[in-house]
Symmetry: C2
Subunit: 633 residues, 2 copies
């Protein structure tokens, strides 16, 4: 099968709309042209629910998509209207961009090399002519926000975060329930309704970022901040050992289908530049990278040969391609490196160890730290956001919250101040491996030293003995730190520590992290979070099986699991479940309780009542058989 056929086949798997779902678009008001996509789920009782939708146009049957052409550039008119950018020739492509090492060079006799060459030629066509700020200009969303401007991106996000609150009202319960289950925001300031002005204000304060490079006009704007829905990131990327470009593009589409709000391309092998072209041009979600990975490839994998010049050139190369945020390990300072010497697991961040190696070899301060202001100048010309990397994060519970980790965190706080001086959007990366009782200290320290810049954590894993299941050991930590205030959770797949995630691993990691993020939203009391749980619970209680499946995070799996025990379609409308079987069902009986209490009028005074004796006989006559129709009363 040739490459386009392979694409076509792969993409056909992931383009189907979700069951009983259709793509709707909410129009803007400040900016009339906006069309904010959401997923509307139709329920069998005539109701509907509107859900936040990360899947982009891929789940819209009306969208005409060709991965060789890339997605529609919806932000281009907004960017052009601002009139503060110029289109320019851009940096010339270099052979080194796709790796220079001898074993990575393409062999003209090798069919695989020919295939990659064809993809590279197509990618050159995909690449848009780059755009940058006019000389001396600043095009960051933070810059606009601080000048009081509500951009189309900000209004888009406000509408998106609200996900049509109207449908939710009836699920939020009476005053008793609302008071009982209301969240504990742990210091977050969640508005009842997200306005464009609220978005602007949060971005201006630095409490939220909108990762949206002006060279990634395909992006559907989203926000990362403690006072918004908790987001998740999925890592993809080829490596020196395995994977191909097509697989990575398909993984992107697959990842956003299941709910990835962001995707990081962590490719480390050859064809890094070409892979990224394909990914960005086809991505409706922000793409992050770790530029030091590509810079290292450019110097043949020898860390000590890295230089500021090579790194700077890589930043510009990637900024021109449209990367929305860069992980930059500028906090791995020379004096902190020896602090890791007595650790159980030393330095486990790949970027951290590259820079540690460079610092040790040259016995010089980290060049990312010493050139930080120059990096800010690049970031603001494209609106690339900082994701300040935690190169010294713990690689085991034993190393959690140690001096190396927190020394770096304090440095990231200092760098945040510098970035904000340039109006560059900034978030802070966090661990890693942290036992449950030590998680809150991470959030507290981050809030204290990083001035409320959004926190973006990897897990954390709460234990170390679960390789093969670290999506679970880390979802526990992720849910907790999300509740405490982390704005975005970087997923962990079942393959963590063991191998590269395949398609199914990506999905497993994403679902585990959607669970963690949603658990955090519910615990915080995000006003747009709980309605979905209530709608699904109501469907469950009323034996509306299809509605239960369709409102779930993964309708396919829910339906498939139900089919395994009760495969017949008739079971999907049956008033029983497989746990109890057709003769007896606890949910059925509790419906009778409701009818009983309503008949008795005893819901209010939950006390014994002698008069109930007579009613009891009456109930026994009318209600003692199991199969009363559900909607009888």
């Amino acid at each position: 099968m040739n490459a386009p056929d392979k694409f076509a086949q792969l993409l056909s798997l992931t383009r189907a709309p979700f069951p009983a779902s259709r793509k709707i678009h909410v129009p803007g008001q400040v900016h009339a042209g906006l069309r904010v996509p959401m997923r509307e789920v139709s329920l069998s009782n005539g109701e509907s629910a509107t859900l936040y939708d990360t899947s982009g146009p891929y789940t819209d049957p009306a969208a005409d998509i060709d991965v060789r052409r890339g997605l529609e550039a919806l932000r281009t008119p907004w960017i052009e209207t601002r009139g503060d950018t110029e289109v320019y020739a851009g940096r010339a492509a270099q052979a080194v961009d796709d790796g220079t090492r001898r074993q990575d060079r393409d062999d003209p006799q090798d069919p695989e090399a020919q295939r990659i060459a064809a993809l590279r030629a197509q990618a050159a066509g995909l690449q848009r002519t780059p755009r940058r700020a006019n000389a001396g200009g600043n095009v960051t969303q933070m810059h606009y926000a601080r000048r009081g401007i509500i951009t189309p991106e900000m209004e888009y996000i406000a509408l998106r975060e609200n996900t049509k609150r109207e449908w939710m009202a009836e699920y939020l319960g009476d005053a008793e329930r609302a008071a009982r289950v209301r969240g504990n925001p742990m210091g977050a300031q969640l508005p009842a309704f997200v306005t464009p002005e609220f978005v602007r204000d949060e971005v201006a304060r630095g409490r939220a970022i909108i990762p949206a490079n002006i060279n990634h006009p395909e992006v559907e704007p989203m926000i990362i901040g403690r006072n918004f829905l908790v987001k998740i990131n999925a890592n993809i990327g080829n490596s020196a050992v395995t994977s191909s470009i097509e697989e990575e593009v398909e993984k992107l589409v697959w990842a956003i289908r299941w709910g990835a709000d962001n995707v990081m391309d962590l490719s480390t092998g050859k064809n890094i530049h070409t892979t990224r072209d394909w990914i960005i041009r086809n991505s409706p979600v922000p793409i992050g990278t770790v530029p030091i990975y590509q810079a290292l490839e450019k110097v043949g994998g020898v860390a000590e040969d890295l230089s500021w010049e090579i790194y700077r050139d890589t930043l510009i190369e990637q900024a021109e391609q449209g990367v929305d945020y860069f992980t930059i390990h500028a906090g791995v300072r020379l004096p902190f490196i020896p602090m890791t010497a007595n650790r159980r697991t030393g330095i486990v961040s790949r970027g951290g160890s590259i820079l540690a190696k460079w610092c040790m070899s040259h016995h010089k301060e980290n060049f990312l730290y010493t050139h930080f202001e120059e990096i800010c100048e690049i970031m603001k010309a494209y609106d690339v956001s900082f994701s300040l990397g935690d190169g010294l994060r713990p690689g085991s519970g034993a190393d959690a919250n140690d001096e190396a980790q927190f020394a770096e965190l304090r440095t990231l706080g200092e760098l945040t101040k510098i970035a904000w001086k340039h109006d560059v959007q900034t978030m802070i990366e966090g661990p890693g491996h942290v036992p449950m009782h030590m998680i809150q200290a991470n959030m507290d320290e981050q809030l204290k030293h990083c001035h409320e810049a959004p926190f973006y954590t990897l897990g954390p894993l709460t234990i170390d003995i679960a390789p093969g299941y670290d999506h679970i050991s880390s979802a526990i930590g992720a849910a907790m730190i999300g509740w405490f205030g982390t704005a975005m959770l970087c997923y962990v797949t079942p393959k963590e520590h063991l191998g590269l995630p395949d398609r199914n691993d990506v999905k497993q990691g994403i679902i585990a992290y959607k669970i963690a993020a949603h658990a955090a939203d519910v615990a915080k009391g995000h006003p747009a979070s709980r309605a979905r749980d209530e709608a699904l619970s109501k469907a469950r209680f009323e034996f509306r099986w299809h509605d239960q499946f369709n409102l779930s995070l993964d309708p396919d799996t829910a339906r498939e699991f139900h089919d395994e025990t009760l495969p017949k379609e008739v079971s999907k409308v049956a008033h029983f479940c497989s746990m109890c079987g057709p003769k007896f069902c606890s949910m059925k009986i509790s419906q009778e309780v409701r009818e009983f209490a309503a008949q008795q009028g005893i819901a209010e005074n939950a006390a014994l009542d002698q008069g109930m004796q007579a009613k009891s006989a009456e109930f026994r006559e009318s209600g003692s058989e199991i199969y009363i129709p559900i909607h009888k009363a």
Copy 2:
């Protein structure tokens, strides 16, 4: 395939010892004959680790096991030595014990019915002659404990909980690390070392229970209490819709292989009595049941036909068989039932709804509540423990922590006092579905109202939108409530709400709950918990791949996942992992950091040092190639 062949095949799958592991036995000191089984894992560096082992003799190649004969009755000499019991004829078997409903009756023309009849005949042979306390006697572990007696069960447990602490010392780190990662016990009083006297004292106070019916002499004693390792329970059992006896026995063996400390047999279909015979006689872990399920079958599934007499007879039937604890929903009081009327999901506990239905139909107080002291008399004659059921637990986050739930919890606290008056061991069941921010209140209320009797919770699930993944949504809640003080976590499988768990679902549920329980132990600072994490992390850092796999919760899956990316055996000793490939590895570099810091002697004063410049050049000469042997320095 006939039944014995099917057994033989199934059991052969689960009898293999874990890789690099052997069964060892630690001898008693107070009671010289004790042999407490543990699993010793041999590591490739010559070290070994000893792990708590729930798998029973099944993973001991030296054990001669025949499921048609049952396991060795290791406790019989202990029970006989106590001299306070009598062997007696026991209740006569009745046809009704395996269900009476017309459609459940065996058809003599049906081959399946013939197969079951053969199993039933064999089960009759399996059944031991029952034993009970001498007239007026009390044979509970609590009764002995309160009289100052350290039973063999108590010493067995003390040794088991310690899992040979000797090997752990070197993994616990220096004073800095020990202080930094020490747990937060949240009020638990974890001893540095578990003595038999400590076990006795905790049982006497009612803070821990030892589920060990005198008619289940095959059980390897274990303890459930806040000041011990957190335990997990796996539910198995056939239902009216699916499953067979053989499958359930095999699920038992499979469940304990992966770490189930307890198993509940929740069978609800036909052949309940026979299934339970097979399970108990082959179980080295305590078996719990919900007797109302079988009582309901005896009255043809009609809740209002239940009576105290039928229920009482069922308790004796099951006590004679050897069930170690009964879930008894005595707190579902009539006045609480209407409190559930406005819930989103009513009453979701099967036992709770059966009793609610009975109470409503008769308009009488729950007969389990009114006969509670008589139940205690039965419990103490066999040492069956109470698991006081939470029949009014919430079935959705919307119903969490409501008046119905907490009214029942307070009643369970009253009943605990009554049980303790009879020296009957008691634990308290808890929810269910609880958002993260509402979990701690459950533990606080339980401690406040139930006098520190062990808490035993189902999950709780933190959100409602993850059917198909509720092992994860609930592992989050389970880990948290385990940290807060819950003594045993009842697992949830991926099939929760959707269907009956198969073999793989059981494993997935157990591993998720081993993660939750271990995360809780680590967070509490249980002194026997962290060493395994450190040993695995050390193996990971030193690229001892096999050791990493073998110390993990599921060596098979860890190895299989590694094989998918790097299948060759040589990769298992390679000094790199699949994320970074052979050219660069962060763990490799951090080893160089350690050597560097050691050479420089700068670990102590983590400051810049001009003299390092010269050393830097030296390091660059000696250490800049990647493949220095790991153990060089």
